[in-house]
């Protein structure tokens, strides 16, 4: 099982002292967090892609390329890549380039964006959101898998005799996850291709997550990729840790109460009960996270949101120490022991290359 962190890249004032980091500080903090993730033994760092303030990460492959050069094991990913408004040709090129620079330590998660105007800003219509995700991804797959592409569709200029360069590393495209909170069409898309499905459940009740994952698993089997329990599932998570539960709650409460997404709404206690947010001791985080499996079955990737709502970098790094030293080793052991031998782990580049060499075509 893979564990990692995903970041939204928000620039938010620290509610305890009113200090707002500069964009430069925030960008460098994201890099520091990625390096720390590798240092404490996590597997994945994923960055969001946004094109509006107060977010900074508009250029994921620039950031991930820089992190690739300063890490050795960490898988670099996205949360999410806008398959709707980015040109699929540019995604094919950028992430193939990143694959080469990172020696294959790359996968990505497709998503549709966090704000309505991002569609018109990039010359698209929000009402075409699903249709864009479907057509653009179908083209992206061909660009990675066929050396020469002739293509015509609805949303971009046709292509004649087009070759996307560089070609994917070892002839194997990056593994793709599809992220969606509430669109069954996206679960269906992930299932159709045998790709991974990521449910960012951090702001949603587990019952909803369970139903979306169940739909994906059922359709994954329908399209002949394996049994439902063999589908590739990822989940979000959000934790704040201190050795003592009460310290965690006391320290996190002002950040919770003023958080951009849920602040000034439900109480910390209600929100903790209704969503996967866990504020407490390492043992509480372990117990809660292990419980996700009861809702969605054996899954392959767990990403935690650790660095939002104005939490200072120092605090985030302390959080990562606790997560890496006290939580993840236990989760890794427990989840791996529970997972049947014929339920796969999330495919790495090496796995995909091996599968390609044995003639086992993935996706």
């Amino acid at each position: 099982m893979q564990f990692g962190v995903f970041t939204v890249g928000d620039v938010t004032p620290d509610p305890t002292n009113g200090r707002t980091p500069t964009e430069a500080e925030r960008i460098k903090a994201m890099v520091t967090i990625a390096l720390k993730a590798e240092e404490v033994g996590l597997d994945v760092f994923a960055t969001g892609e946004h094109h509006n303030p107060p977010f900074v990460p508009s250029s994921p492959t620039t950031m991930l390329g820089y992190i690739a050069a300063r890490t050795e094991r960490l898988i670099l990913s996205t949360s999410t890549t806008l398959i709707t408004t980015n040109d699929p040709v540019k995604i094919a090129e950028d992430y193939a380039m990143l694959q080469h620079l990172a020696d294959g330590r790359v996968d990505l998660m497709m998503g549709r964006g966090n704000t309505g105007p991002v569609y018109p800003w990039f010359g698209k219509n929000i009402r075409d959101g699903i249709a864009l995700a479907v057509e653009n991804y179908a083209l992206l797959r061909r660009l990675w898998r066929e050396d020469v592409v002739n293509w015509e569709g609805t949303f971009r200029t046709p292509l004649q005799s087009f070759t996307s360069v560089p070609r994917p590393l070892d002839g194997v495209p990056p593994f793709v996850w599809h992220g969606s909170i509430r669109s069954p069409e996206i679960a269906e898309q992930a299932a159709y291709y045998g790709d991974g499905f990521f449910h960012n459940n951090i702001f949603w009740p587990m019952e909803h997550t369970r139903q979306m994952v169940e739909l994906y698993r059922r359709r994954y089997a329908h399209y002949g990729h394996g049994r439902p329990d063999q589908a590739i599932v990822g989940l979000g998570g959000q934790v704040f840790l201190r050795r003592n539960s009460q310290d965690a709650v006391r320290e996190f409460r002002p950040y919770f109460d003023n958080a951009p997404v849920y602040g000034h709404g439900p109480s910390l206690e209600d929100f903790t009960e209704q969503t996967p947010l866990t504020v407490g001791s390492p043992q509480e985080v372990i117990d809660r996270t292990l419980g996700f499996r009861d809702h969605v079955g054996d899954y392959q990737r767990q990403l935690f949101l650790m660095d939002h709502a104005g939490l200072p970098l120092k605090t985030v790094l302390e959080q990562l120490d606790l997560l890496g030293e006290e939580v993840v080793p236990v989760l890794r052991r427990e989840f791996d022991a529970l997972r049947p031998a014929d339920v796969p782990t999330a495919p790495t580049h090496a796995d995909l290359v091996a599968a390609a060499n044995t003639g086992e075509v993935t996706g």
Binding site: I130, A131, V134, E135, A138, T154, R182, P184, E185, E188, Q189, A191, Y192, F203, W204, P205, H208, Q211, M212, E214, L215, R219, Y223, V261, Y262, G263, H264, G265, P266, D270, F271, Q274, T275
Partner: protein, 206 residues
């Protein structure tokens, strides 16, 4: 005798509530009219006051609390809806509107509905037709022709030159809702996790 479910959404804030009083009367009238069509009614009330905090939280977080989820589901699976609000500042109350703002946009499509409102003065009575009816038309509910408006004075007035008494309007509206519910038959709510469009069709652009 087969059964139809009626859900009554009532947005009164006081206890006791005049809005609830009107809601009770409308439910009883509809139940009686259904019985005349050989149908029994299972009536469930949703008191919005009880989920007022949950509604605000839903606006902020994007998902309903378990209690609000239960209330929304009750409306979605009902065969008929009775919606009653006090008139505040020339329109439905904010609480009433918030409930229908967070309800799934397709939950009322084709659903028989009866609209009703209470106020301190009859001068607000057109709010039924300039505010509530467009709201439910937008949600594509099948709204009964008679909406029932009850001002304070209606609770102590019989019929006369001003028009039929409140009791007569209640009976007429209940009869209209019962007719719509009986004609439509029992409904099963749509499953949001159902795959309505296979992926090959999405790929083909449809």
């Amino acid at each position: 005798m087969s059964t139809r479910t009626l859900t009554v959404v009532t947005a009164g804030l006081n206890r006791p509530s005049t809005t609830r009083l009107l809601a009770d009367r409308l439910a009883a009238a509809t139940e009686l009219a259904l019985r005349e069509r050989d149908l029994s009614a299972a009536v469930e009330f949703v008191e919005l006051r009880e989920v007022a905090h949950d509604l605000t939280d839903n606006l902020l977080t994007g998902f309903p609390s378990p209690a609000l989820r239960a209330a929304l589901d009750t409306v979605a699976r009902a065969d008929g809806l009775i919606a009653v609000t006090p008139i505040f500042t020339a329109s439905y109350s904010g609480l009433f509107k918030t409930f229908f703002d967070v309800l799934d946009s397709g939950a009322l499509v084709g659903k028989p509905a009866l609209i009703a409102a209470t106020a301190g003065t009859v001068r607000h009575s057109l709010a039924l037709d300039h505010a509530l009816r467009p709201l439910f038309s937008y949600l594509r509910a099948s709204v009964a022709p008679t909406g029932v408006f009850a001002a304070s004075e209606d609770w102590g007035t019989g019929g006369g030159v001003a028009g039929p008494a409140l009791a007569d309007r209640i009976d007429r509206a209940g009869g209209e809702l019962a007719l719509l519910v009986a004609a439509r038959g029992p409904q099963a709510p749509a499953d949001p996790f159902d795959v309505s469009t296979p992926f090959e069709q999405l790929l083909a652009g449809g």
